[in-house]
Amino acid sequence: MPEGTLCNRQPITTEEQLKLVLNDKGGKQYYAEMEELEVDSDKLWGAIQKTLKSRTKTWLDICAHCGLCAESCFLYQVNGRKPEQVPSYKIQSTLGEIIKKKGKVSNEFMRHCMDVAWSWCTCCNRCGQFCPHGIDMGVMFSYLRGLLYSQGFVPWELKIGSGMHRVYRAQMDVTTEDWTETCEWMAEENEEEWPGLEIPIDKEGADIMYTCNAREPKHYPEDIAEAAILFHVAGENWTVPSEGWEQTSLSMFAGDWECCKDNVANVYAALERLKPKRAIGTECGHAHRATVIEGPYWVGREDGQPPVPYMHYVEWLLEALETGKIKIDPEKRIKEPVTLQDSCNYVRNQGLKNVTRKIIEYIVEPGYFREMAPNKEYNYCCGGGGGFNGIGKYRPQRNVALLKKLQQIKATGAKLVIAPCHNCWDAIRDLEEEYKIGIRWSFLKPLIIEMMVVPDHLKPEE
């Protein structure tokens, strides 16, 4: 069988097809079909010849095989320092082999590559900082994922994920109606406690256009309400677009580059339509990376910048604290050991390391903040990055991957972990569920709402 009905080289583009794959619980049939999937070697080699340029090519060529990258990888560390987990080995034995064989590789080999690309590397880019030659395995693994995706060798959930993005332009089946209704519902729900609270949809020329992660309307709509409350208290003139509100990109984890481009174009179109002064994204690391850091390149913006200044939530929050738009009641500051998860996607990948720490100074009573070791751009992945969290097939491996973060958190003695990234938040939640070390975890929004000073005129009348 050259291609299966569920597992094939075509991306999911229709709702029907999406439902078909989705209904295959756990991807049973999907993975069975994958075992028969033919490798289109010509296409594979063609793609490589077109895209394997200086950077990746040189990296593969000049790797000195020195092994200095080994210890930098948390997966190497938590998997008993198995030599197979050495970053350089992981990429040489997968991508390197495909190139050596000019794309003439077997189905079995491709399935092995899939396992390695999605469960032995979270594309956290940590190893790149340690290699003398500047070889960044995270970048190379995402390149490999692209090749694998184009051949149909992609984990079931991510095939669906990128299909969702293609069909609904959201990582979950949240339609425009679902989204706008959720916004209205959240505004109503909180109106009593927050008189005048609004979630303005499609307001032109606002100061801020807010975008988020589809899981917020789908699973925790209170996050949108919290964003609204904070903008409300800060007195911001803001809006959400009815279209182009979803800034995440499971397609980036899947390696579906065409879909990545489409998503970002959709968000940028909203910016052009509503002409806000700037855009603020929610507390999600990979969403920020997709829309703000990599996105401009996907849509071909030569300056690598989004059409208007686009900030991560922590940047806006710090600004609001510094300008006094939001004031913290010193009595309510956190008075228990607390630590911070540095999300790779906006810390290592965009340098926002000091921003979060300045926020901490506002919200934690001096003496209670505990840094993880290592931290900032040297922090380890939470254990569930790059799509790892969501792939059922690799759950056992993911649970092992969590051990690094577990050790780090335990060493701080913190009871509360601040995780301003959806994916890190999930990983830390799973970590507690799996290993029960007695911690709590939180985004920034609910913490700030708890401890901010609410001006009298914004309070409900008694």
């Binding site: 200086s54 000049i62 965009q350 926002l352």
Partner: protein, 225 residues
Amino acid sequence: MYDLLTGPLLWVVFIVTFVGLAVRVVMYIRGLDWKLDRVAYRPFLGHGLKHGVRSIVAFLIPFKAHSWRSRPLFTILFFAFHIGLLVTPIFLEAHNAMLEQSLGIRLPGLPAVVADVLAWTVVVGGVFMALRRIAFPEVRILTTAYDYLLIVISVAPFVTGLIARYELGSYDFWLCLHILTGEIWLLALPFTKLSHVVLFFMSRMQLGMDYGIKRGGMKGTSMSW
């Protein structure tokens, strides 16, 4: 034999090596692609170059980059080996004499003791590099025959040079072999992984630019590497 090796052949080797390395640099730069690499090289050249240079410097100075600090022994070995490899051939008195003969220029020469120490460092360093490949599982798994061959190519001119210098056996024989292995070493530079003599700078610069332009440099924070 000696005349052939130091005469026309040497010139051919020099030309092939230097032109070859230059070609690799040019090809590297031409192969950069802002869209594929997702780095706005041109619009933010200033940021890029600044952080690119920082990134190169961090790895050129022993113990500056985090990597160098985490493995002190390896770092010392690594730097000693590379310094020996690069400094000895350029500043060796005997090489200088040849240079003066053919081109009439002179570089400062190394005192004989220093040259000896450096040459020995390369040989011992090479042996340790090879042993390290055998001893550590995380390096063993990466190592191929090619890696050993490269060590042999790199170290051979030093071994033969030392033998000739101490006049063990026939001086002329070892001298010729020394020149021959030296020429092989030079020729290997553009055509093998030893091209990292120039590509290291390219690749490091590139990643530095990536971090400088996109991954933090423009947010006012710089990688500590």
